[in-house]
Symmetry: C2
Subunit: 295 residues, 2 copies
Amino acid sequence: MIAIDWGTSSFRAYRLARDGSIVQTRAAPMGIMQVEDGRFAQALQSRIGDWLAAGETRVLMSGMIGSRQGWKEAPYVSTPAGADAIAAGMVSVAMETGAAAWIAPGVCTRDAAGVPDVMRGEETQILGVLESLPVADAWICLPGTHSKWVYVRERCIERFTTFMTGEVFAVLKAHSILGRMMDDVAVDLDAFDAGLDAGAGDGLLHRLFGVRARALFGELPAGHSGAYLSGLLIGSELASLPQELDHACLLGSSELTRLYRHALERRGVRVQSLDQHAAAAGLHILDQTLEHMSP
Amino acid sequence: MIAIDWGTSSFRAYRLARDGSIVQTRAAPMGIMQVEDGRFAQALQSRIGDWLAAGETRVLMSGMIGSRQGWKEAPYVSTPAGADAIAAGMVSVAMETGAAAWIAPGVCTRDAAGVPDVMRGEETQILGVLESLPVADAWICLPGTHSKWVYVRERCIERFTTFMTGEVFAVLKAHSILGRMMDDVAVDLDAFDAGLDAGAGDGLLHRLFGVRARALFGELPAGHSGAYLSGLLIGSELASLPQELDHACLLGSSELTRLYRHALERRGVRVQSLDQHAAAAGLHILDQTLEHMSP
């Protein structure tokens, strides 16, 4: 089968053997925003036409390709959601080659205040790492532009919380007065730790101004402001987690993931890193689930 | 005397009578960033040369003109700071006309965590409204790009807290995924109130994502997202105030000030609006203080 992780700005294809092992991978900066006039079928053909010609007949996709802006909308399924519920929410799309093609739905939940939260793509990655979890119930963190904390229980996504941490960091650095002082070449861990401590307190909008005030007073060298701001925001995010959290799984392999690991371990949380080809593994599980569901 | 409120992007001059009443005012988009090569004396002459020629001999200035990027740096004085301490921190600059010219210093403080906070310009406005305060100790709020909450006691700025509320709103609206959904023509008060309630809870970085998720689910019309985000941020700011706060003074006359009044009154806080020509009144008080201090 072919597994496609198709996001807003990137495209990644995996050719998988029957047992789920990865035979071949391809990546391209061909996110759904780069595909013109809804020509997704053609875009897909241009990237993996040779795999299809070689006899692959099943294509499963996940990510923003299933959003309103993508190929075909695959409506969100509600938590708790496991492989069965997610597979049942898949929508099929037509391929000229006659291959069977499906798009995975996203997952939605509501927080304690009744405000909705959504993921699209991450649910498939979560399915892909369920086998690797050390315990039946676990917190999985996916750092990124919109970081997600997902609570998994009995092979289901039970609930989750999204934080705009990465995007807030990026826009403040690029467009606010705080960014003017930043010329960080590398993340200074002491400054990052100081930010973590400050961010754990309340009043984030005040703490943010502290980045500027500390720099004005020479208490934060220009090269450390970015690390401090990063710590402030990640510290604020982690302050929302349950106090009793003592184990977490991290999905990702970026520099940002390394910072999350450091922040969590500093708080006394044991951290397990999970596979970075999780989307391919998750789509393989969905493929098997679909096969069992078919008449 | 002549009072000048000279900020980053604006210039406002007041000609005052001996009793402090305003005789004439002038405003121009001539902030310190618009003055080239440090030619502040010439810029000032171009705006109020006729007042000086008519016999005015004292010019007092406040605002970013006293910052490192301004005419001459007037170092911050520490809290508690009243008229005497602020007047003592004024620095003089040379005018070709022979008029005596001074720049007021900013004020700095430290929060409970030891992180510094600063104001520059607001301290003069605070001095200008001290006479109008209904009680000896009061909380004064100055909404804006960087909103400030100032606690005044015995005619002194006792302590204060800056929040990046306005700037965070602006950068998120202009540069984040949240802004894509915003086409607010006017502030919808129901959406603003819903944001206030959501912002009062913890986890601001999560609540921000709720703006997007609620819009995705049709729970927030496109025309209401901006009002909801504004409420979310102001609600988060107000959550940092003392629970027992039952009276506050608002300094300003903008649309934003109106929203702060609404948010405070909704929380049961009595609100008093203060004079908007506070900077002129404050500089007049500093002028009198300087005269008494001179040998």
